[in-house]
Symmetry: C2
Subunit: 344 residues, 2 copies
């Protein structure tokens, strides 16, 4: 493998507002060599997620550490194949879920890696329905939203990786599931494929009346991924003791000044709850999540849609599009060949 | 008592924006006569509270029922003396806490009344430190705010009936207590008399830097009575896992259009919680409240300040002033003579 080069996407500039292609730099470097106890990973899939925008800023990330320095590799979750191994826990040919970032190869000690069995589910699902977005939906809806059968659960970004699962888990729990999404195609998929009861297109119809019509009994759980106008409209329709898991505020991630938020009077009069959460605080629920979601997935109870972009060099534009609401389903970058797909 | 007249304050108009004197009507009517099982109550103290503004609007109140009709007596908590009794549970001469509204006399079946013992505490305290505002502070801080020793608790309207107790209970629980109030006199009282660690005057200094200086370790609990700029400033200083009991939004009760609220990004990144609550949902905590607060009061651990307005006819202007932040302490109207004060 001596002649191979690594390809990486580096953070070149901290974006002001919306990231631009010039904020990223595609670089080549010699292939890293695994030392004692280390493995060489070849990236197959790279996950692109909205949180990455915040990690491009100066300062501390909300998960604790400092954001990556300028010039370092963009961070991100990955599915990789082990190409060389000096670590018996991860033999050559194994597939691993890790956090190797925007690069074609990486060396790892194995810390924080999880082995994947391609026989139980396609490798890419470890970045979506059976991965971090799935756990986000599961924890946010069940632990914070605490939906009861018969209640109405509304979720924004309903065709996205997290939102599409929130509604489907809500249905499995006996709730009415209503999505909000940004195109007729997305709304049609949310209802017909993902099985939501209704989906409102926030771009084509006045949001509040459409949401009110879709929620004749009001809103008991509003799972928010976007903030802004959708959150404001949903707040006006909440029921007493409503719960609002605050998962994301993608509508303002590119904002240079934080816009005002919704009026909180409905929270007061309805004794409602807003709770921000970060999935990385809830890894204690990973085993429960996999125990519940894996059979649901295998039994066909969970529809998921992947939006696969091919080639590491496409990752910057794909992230820019994600922040604009352009993707449809879980956004992953296919960085390298997936050998498990050959056998299909 | 046949020659006596009842005096009442009626709701004449539903206010648009700030209530005006002309929205109230002072009326006289014959003294009501208690029937079988009923008692005649003479109002001694009437409580004035911010929630009353909402009850003047059209529609449903947030506690469930319809708001009072035009022409009906303004609602409110009262301490009364029983003048005539056909109900052995409430003999003549007893003192009772009830909800008789803005009037000098009322007939009651006794339902919902609680007998008061003037030997244990002055009668007016049943409307303040040992009454609904006290229970509000107790439940909101302890059950929703859940302060831990060493944490920083910030409360707005800190010289008010609820706010002054929130800070004092926080101190009793080992926390740093920081108030926000609207005059140098109020801030001085909050620190010197009520024993808070600090108090910021939101009218005389830039709020956020002053609050930041008063909270060198950030904010763990922000008990909000006001909303608006104070809530927005507090949100920028919250710590991870902060709790925000949302008790009131007095800054906007007179608003004809709901203003935008604070940006919620700090809630997301800090995994914080906002929870609206209404004290009437928490009457199951009344016994605990009285068990804890009565001895604290008797032992002099709770400072409380009453802002006593004399005369039922002063109630409208007093409520208008309350909504403007003019009162200082628990606002009560002395409607009639308090016979228990004579013996002092």
């Amino acid at each position: 493998m001596q002649n191979l080069l690594n390809r990486q996407v580096l953070l070149r500039n901290r974006p002001k507002g919306e990231p631009k292609a010039a904020d990223f730099e595609l670089a080549e470097s010699p292939l890293p060599v695994p030392g004692d106890g280390e493995i060489l990973c070849r990236t197959i899939y790279l996950s692109l997620d909205p949180y990455m925008r915040g990690r491009m800023n100066e300062g501390r990330s909300y998960t604790g550490g400092m954001n990556p320095a300028l010039g370092s590799v963009m961070i991100g979750g990955t599915v990789s194949e082990v190409m060389e191994s000096n670590n018996p826990a991860f033999p050559r040919g194994a597939f691993v879920l890790g956090f190797n970032g925007w690069q074609a190869y990486a060396v790892s000690s194995g810390a924080g890696l999880r082995k994947l069995d391609p026989k139980t589910a396609p490798l890419s699902t470890a970045l979506g329905v059976l991965g971090m977005p799935g756990l986000t939906a599961y924890v946010g809806l069940l632990d914070i939203g605490r939906p009861k059968p018969g209640e109405t659960v509304v979720v924004s970004a309903a065709s996205g990786a997290v939102g599409s699962l929130v509604g489907q888990i809500a249905k499995l729990k006996g709730c009415r599931a209503v999505g909000v999404a940004g195109s007729p195609e997305k709304c049609a998929w949310v209802v017909k494929e993902a099985g939501f009861d209704a989906c409102v297109n926030y771009k084509s119809e006045p949001l509040r009346p459409a949401l009110q019509k879709a929620c004749p009994s009001g809103i008991d759980v509003y799972f928010d991924n976007v903030g802004g106008d959708v959150l404001a409209a949903a707040l006006t329709l909440i029921n007493q003791n409503a719960r609002i898991p605050l998962c994301g505020l993608i509508s303002q991630y590119n904002a240079t000044e934080l816009p005002p938020g919704p009026n909180l009077a409905p929270i007061l009069v309805n004794r409602a709850l807003i709770k921000g959460f970060i999935v990385s605080d809830h890894m204690d629920r990973l085993a429960d999540f996999l125990r519940d979601m894996s059979p649901w997935y295998r039994e066909g109870k969970l529809t998921h849609r992947e939006d696969v972009v091919v080639g590491l060099e496409q990752a910057p534009q794909a992230l820019i599009g994600l922040l604009r609401g352009r993707n449809f389903g879980k956004l992953v970058v296919k960085v390298g060949e997936d050998p498990t797909l050959k056998s299909c």
